[in-house]
């Protein structure tokens, strides 16, 4: 090939990688083959910077049916059922074209779920934006929220939760992480592992166009000004097509016609065909002339790399071709037999009656490079993360005003403006709707429910990736516990800057270690996940942002707890201990504009004891409401419970620290519960036995939230502030 260097640069391959390729295949690759390598060896497909570290995370457990490596993780929930779930990023496409970027992010994660035979039952979205004060950011926010709504609503799958944080760190690189959860009978799980040489390979769904070519490589490169011109590579989503594809696939999966199935996501036909064949230890031969095409004169590499949405590749049983075609025809979908499995472990790509590419699968999959990148603690950790946050905050003269400001700040304030655009009640299974600590989805035909949440405070992870990541796991578990469920398993989406930057690599490794130790301590496996590197613009990285998606189980829906205050006269009890911990807090940011100080201490062991205690109390029917303390501290939690229950409260705090620091401290492992007065002694005793701090701090009642002689605000004013919107 001429201009090898130029081509390599365009394909994001290094000279060393090219040498490796020629060494393995014993010749120069042709252009189609080189594109296939560039996709399979991209960071996005090969995890070449992250693989060794990801292996540290615990991924097994008694309920885990399928761990990382498949389209999604699968965990048993009894009754012959399993939950299937995963979270994935769509950051770069959403920054370039927010509506379609976010929409296709949802589309992609839903395909990962129904590919495994599961009917998706819920979507959650974890979003990070810059401060919502300029037009560009408002355009991105509106577009992303509308894109999620546009796709999920049309599919008829409820979007039941997630988070939205705002911070200047995401000004030029927003994050859109979508999580989907499905339910499947545990004996009807489909995998991407091919079997049976000679079995036909089918292509179904949308026709292939040139959209998204470069997608996997784009996700593996940083933003520069040039990226803004990359618009044509963003895929356009067609949720109607995906709805038909989902129904057709689920219908087909009730039969015995297919042996393996995989969606065409990043790197499209290339990764799906290579991965399916490689997992089965077989080879695959495909004829590109048989691929349904939307555009004319597409080159072989364009067809192989296209990331057109709403497409699936499946392996049928030989002799069942007609039956497979009939199902897709019923749903008016394009279906085409494009090839077959072969014994020899290689991929053979034909077009125009010529072999266009012929490559050994082991080289593409197993020999992908692995990099041990240089890691170094960033200077910022020693400078910004060691200051004493509380000393920087002057005590407010007017507590009411600062409290109202905190409650209405974009990150703490209600996200009703977003979730009212999401159809969260379709499916008639949403028992606990958005706005509570976690969502609760019932499973019809059983008494069970599944609890779902996403969490990740990146100000903490910026100040301490290890502690912040542990906190994300703890908070997710606490949110699950607060609605009365037990944590089951985790999916993660790890959003970081450029791994070739030693600071970023250090953050990444610390974060993995933080997740690992928290998950080990609490006995919660990580069953699926996604790494998104290169979230940087012009050399500036985002905050390290690991997002934890957690699924929990509730054996009977009767055990559910909601955050709203229930009855006047109920006692308000704080489980866990408040420390003077305002480092990285919303309060510090509100008052000083700073993201600094030590983040709250984290102890997964204590977290486990707190949530086990809550669970035990709930089993004894003593817990009337529960909600965890997180951003904004206990004052914000109490306010939310008051607003939700439309009831006031009177708190009598015994101050250990300056009152504002105590009210707004973000100490972890704390839960606000309410209980009938007669149960308070029993609750205190149980807490003491489990070595958990427990204080009765006030009582539900009235029309105002009153804290000693410091705060007095009407519930109405709290509500208006909280729901103010952007």
């Amino acid at each position: 090939m001429d201009n090898v260097e130029k081509i390599l640069k365009e394909l994001n391959l290094t000279g060393d990688e090219y040498k490796k390729i020629t060494g393995y295949i014993g010749r120069e690759p042709n252009i189609t083959e080189l594109w296939i390598f560039s996709a399979m060896w991209s960071e996005h497909c090969s995890y070449k910077s992250s693989r060794p570290y990801l292996k540290r995370m615990p991924s097994s457990g008694k309920d885990v049916l399928i761990g990382p490596g498949e389209n999604a993780g699968v965990v048993s929930i009894g009754d012959g059922l399993a939950v299937v779930f995963k979270m994935e990023s769509h950051n770069h496409p959403s920054f370039i074209e927010p509506y379609n970027g976010a929409a296709t992010g949802v589309g992609g994660i839903l395909r990962d779920i129904f590919t495994m035979g599961a009917r998706p039952v819920a979507i959650l979205d974890s979003l990070r934006f810059g401060e919502p004060d300029d037009d560009k950011m408002k355009y991105l926010i509106d577009g992303v929220v509308a894109g999620i709504a546009g796709y999920g609503n049309c599919m008829g799958i409820p979007t039941v939760g997630g988070e939205i944080y705002f911070d200047a760190a995401y000004k030029d690189n927003i994050l859109v992480n979508a999580m989907a959860v499905g339910v499947v009978p545990d004996d009807r799980i489909f995998l991407a592992k091919a079997s049976g040489a000679g079995n036909p390979v089918f292509y179904v769904g949308s026709k292939t166009g040139r959209d998204g070519i470069h997608g996997a490589t784009m996700a593996s490169a940083s933003f520069t000004d040039e990226t803004a011109v990359l618009k044509p590579t963003v895929q356009v989503g067609d949720p109607f097509m995906e709805k038909l594809l989902m129904e057709a696939c689920l219908e087909l999966m009730k039969t015995n016609h297919i042996v393996a199935i995989q969606d065409m996501g990043a790197a499209g036909l290339t990764s799906s065909s290579v991965e399916m064949a490689a997992k089965g230890g077989l080879g695959i031969e495909i004829d590109l002339d048989k691929v349904p095409q939307r555009e004319e004169a597409m080159l072989p590499y364009e067809i192989m790399l296209s990331e057109s949405q709403e497409r699936m590749l499946l392996i049928a049983k030989k002799g069942h071709e007609k039956a497979v075609e009939a199902v897709f025809r019923k749903w008016n979908l394009d279906v085409s037999q494009i090839g077959r499995l072969i014994e020899s472990p290689e991929i053979i790509v034909k077009a125009n009656n010529r072999v266009q590419a012929r490559l050994p699968l082991t080289v593409l999959v197993d020999e992908a490079p692995v990099y041990t990148r240089y890691a170094r603690m960033p200077v910022s950790v020693t400078t910004t993360a060691t200051t004493n946050a509380s000393e920087e905050i002057p005590e407010p003269k007017d507590y009411d005003s600062i409290f109202i400001q905190l409650l209405s700040s974009p990150t703490i304030g209600s996200k009703r403006w977003a979730y009212e655009q999401y159809d969260h009640s379709v499916g008639t299974d949403t028992v606990i709707k958005p706005g509570a600590d976690a969502a609760l989805i019932r499973i019809k035909g059983t008494r069970k429910g599944i609890a779902i949440t996403t969490d990740g405070n990146s100000r903490y992870t910026y100040l301490s990736p290890y502690a912040g990541s542990g906190i994300a796991v703890c908070e997710a578990a606490r949110n699950i516990a607060c609605i009365g469920a037990r944590p089951l398993a985790v999916t993660d989406c790890l959003n970081f800057g450029n791994p070739e930057n030693p600071d970023v690599m250090w953050q990444f490794i610390e974060s993995i270690n933080g997740i690992t130790s928290a998950c080990l301590a609490m006995g919660i496996p990580v069953v699926s996940g996604n790494v998104s590197f290169y979230n940087e613009t012009e050399g500036t990285s985002i905050y390290p942002t690991p997002v934890i998606g957690m699924v929990g189980i509730m054996d009977t829906l009767r055990e559910r707890i909601t955050p709203d205050f229930k009855d006047n006269g109920d006692s308000i009890i704080l489980l866990g201990e408040t420390l003077d911990e305002c480092g990285g807090s919303e309060y510090l940011k509100l008052v000083t504009g700073k993201i600094s100080g030590r983040p709250p201490r984290v102890s997964p062991e204590m977290e486990k004891r707190v949530i086990d205690l809550l669970h035990a109390m709930n089993k004894m029917h003593m817990v009337k409401s529960a909600s965890d303390c997180s951003e904004g501290g206990l004052a914000v939690t109490v306010a939310r419970c008051a607003i939700a229950g439309n009831k006031g409260a009177k708190l009598n705090m015994q101050w250990r620290y300056r009152p504002d620091l105590e009210l707004f401290s973000e100490s972890q492992h704390r839960i606000i519960i309410t209980a009938a007065h007669k149960h308070v002694d029993k609750i205190k005793k149980m807490a003491q036995q489990n070595d958990i701090a427990c204080k009765m701090i006030g009582m539900v009642g009235g029309r105002r939230l009153i804290v000693n002689n410091r705060v007095s605000v009407s519930v109405e004013d709290l509500r208006n502030a909280y729901h103010r919107g952007l």
């Binding site: 109607f240 008016n332 969260h424 379709v426 829906l557």
Partner: protein, 232 residues
């Protein structure tokens, strides 16, 4: 007494069919079939529900493409035999596009999809769909749509009012049909309409999502129970 037979029509893109199926079974205990959009006769049913969703992706206009499905011919024949039809959300939009009820749906005046609980007032209880409510009852019920902004010409609206065809109107917590309580800009706060024979009810709110106390709201349940009573 033989069980009531109900059919839930499924167009490509319909997505509330399973919810509706479940609600019909749970509330009415009737026999329910999913009816594929290519079906040519509906003679065996006493109740047909056109459920919510995005038939044909809402492409062109919500309901515009579904209207030309084979099952819509069957539905006209079914109507002549006075069979009951309940159109919910996208079902309402389809019935308007098919001109089985007058008027049209525009985009919500907020220009956004809206999913939330709203209040509606029951304007008449002498229909097979509302006979267990009292006239003036206020019920809380979820909406979930992007195009629920009902439009009818002045003559159409006058005729609807005169013939008492408005069954539900958006209202506030005290039952007043104010502009503030109107979530989408719908003229005359219209949330649900019937034909003059009261055999067709079309409504934007989702009664199938408000029929089960586990979900925190069963104020829409009486719609299904009313139908059951009317057909028994």
């Amino acid at each position: 007494m033989p069980k009531i037979k109900a059919g839930v029509i499924v167009f490509p893109g319909t997505n509330c069919d399973r919810d509706t199926y479940y609600a019909l079974k749970q509330t009415m205990g009737c026999e329910v079939d999913s009816v594929w959009y290519e079906t040519k006769t509906l003679r065996k049913y006493q109740l047909i529900v056109i459920p919510g969703g995005f038939s044909y992706g809402d492409y062109l206009r919500a309901g515009a493409l579904a209207r030309f499905s084979p099952v819509m011919e069957a539905l006209r024949e079914y109507t002549e035999k006075k069979g009951l039809i309940l159109g919910i959300c996208n079902g309402f939009q389809i019935l308007l596009e098919a001109m089985m009820l007058p008027g049209a749906m525009q985009r919500n005046d907020t220009l956004k999809f809206i999913c939330k609980d709203v209040q509606v007032r029951v304007e008449r209880n002498d229909t097979p769909f509302t006979l267990l409510y009292k006239k003036g009852d206020r019920i809380q019920i979820p909406i979930a749509h992007a195009q629920g902004n009902y439009y009818g010409s002045e003559q159409t609206l006058a005729s609807l009012e005169k013939q008492n065809q408005i069954v539900f109107r958006y209202c506030d917590e005290s039952g007043n049909t104010t502009e503030q309580s109107n979530p989408n800009g719908s003229l005359h706060n219209i949330a649900g309409l019937c034909n003059s024979e009261t055999t067709i009810l079309a409504m934007m709110p989702h009664p199938e999502r408000a029929s089960d106390s586990t979900l925190g709201n069963d104020e829409g349940r009486k719609i299904f129970l009313s139908i059951k009573k009317a057909l028994s």
